[in-house]
């Protein structure tokens, strides 16, 4: 059985856990630093960062400049702070057992 298992195709699961952590992005959308695990793809960080930068940019254009934006989803909280044209983004997954959760 052990020998057979060597030849069996490993199960390639794609399910991705959302990590807790933060990353910083410059004004050009380049990831500068990250405390997120390496398993969390950089492309996903860039995607989140682009949405955040776009929101800051449109707010500036609308004459309502913002230095911080918090997005609450049912299972995730994103907190982003403006950082010299870029941003620092905190990723905070929410769970049902979290104290203080409504």
């Amino acid at each position: 059985m052990g020998l057979l298992s060597l030849f069996s195709k490993p199960k390639e699961a794609k399910l991705m856990r959302l990590p807790s952590g933060s990353f910083t992005m410059d004004a050009d959308g380049k990831i500068m630093t990250s405390t997120l695990p390496q398993s969390f793809p950089e492309s996903r960080m860039r995607e989140i960062g682009q949405h955040v930068l776009a929101s800051f940019r449109v707010a500036r254009q609308a004459q309502v400049p913002l230095s911080e934006v918090i997005i609450n989803y049912a299972a995730l909280k994103l907190l982003a702070r403006e950082l010299r044209g870029g941003a620092i983004v905190f990723i905070m997954p929410q769970t049902l057992n979290q104290p203080g959760r409504p």
Partner: protein, 361 residues
Amino acid sequence: MATQQKILLLDDDQDFLDLYKEMLSQHLSCLPEVRTASSGSRALSLLESEGFTLLIVDLNMPKMDGLQVLSIARRKYPQLKVVVLTGIRDDQFRTRAYAMGVDQYWIKPESDQEMGLFMESIESLLSREAQGGFRGVQSKSLVDIIQLECLSQSSSVLKITNGMVEGKIWIQNGEVIDAEAAGITAEPAFQRILSWKTGSFEIFPADPLRARAIFTSYQGLLLNTAQAIDEAAAVIPGEAGSGEAPVTERLNNQMLLTEVSQMHGVEFLLIMGKDKKAEDYWGLENPKPVAHWVRQTVDSFRELGERLQVGEMQQITGTGPHRKMTLAFSGRSNLCVGFQAAATAEQIRETMRTIITKWAS
């Protein structure tokens, strides 16, 4: 004759599919037809071509994972009941699955007893009424629960949640004695609660100290309410599905603007309708730039939420040097409230709660 229930079972493990297909098709009293799929794409094509009552889905699968399947299935088939059956004991995935609207989340049974409980829960889920958008402890519609409570001469308090708005109905010895929702009480509150098309409810022990404010019998109340809802729906033909006519909505918005303009710390309010145009506003000379930010931000982060599979977007708060802004959403429209920069998080939370309650009502 009732139609046969159909279950679609999705897992990448063929042995598991064979075992559970046999279990579900032979041991459930409704003798459902059970179909299987070993990949997300196969499951979605089966859902497209055949009608199913229930989808049982694993989460950890190659290529397309269970959350991706859930996200598509929930959007395309809102009436489909969905159960997650997985080996993953992780609170985050459980939270995300519930945030995406699954009915139940089960860890794959490891004993006879657990298997028995699982089968019972599936049996109960399949026996639920297909109609009614309310999900509650008894899986019945709100009217069903009120009738049951009254017929059995019970005393209880029903707490009904519709998005961010809450309502309560007090039942004493089989009679509805009071109701409360969105700042109104008694019969108008009862009618308001019953006009909500979706939501959830819980039953709490009776509150014997509650003073009686409704003196109509429960049958009369239900009849009056059904009549009021029918009349509201008939105001503008073709708008019945939305529950309220646009004219009524504009009037409600104006009332909300008047009330909010008197709230401490609020600088402006912008209500945007389904077509995302700036509909009604107060405190803004030109609402277009803020409306543009709201539109862009809501669309952008809603799309991000779908891609991250983290459930509905609930609220967005922005802080700037001159003011703070909070966005809230309902199925129909978006609300943007501007606060003075000095407003504290607690003040904003409390004010938003009040505004949302008034808005949703």
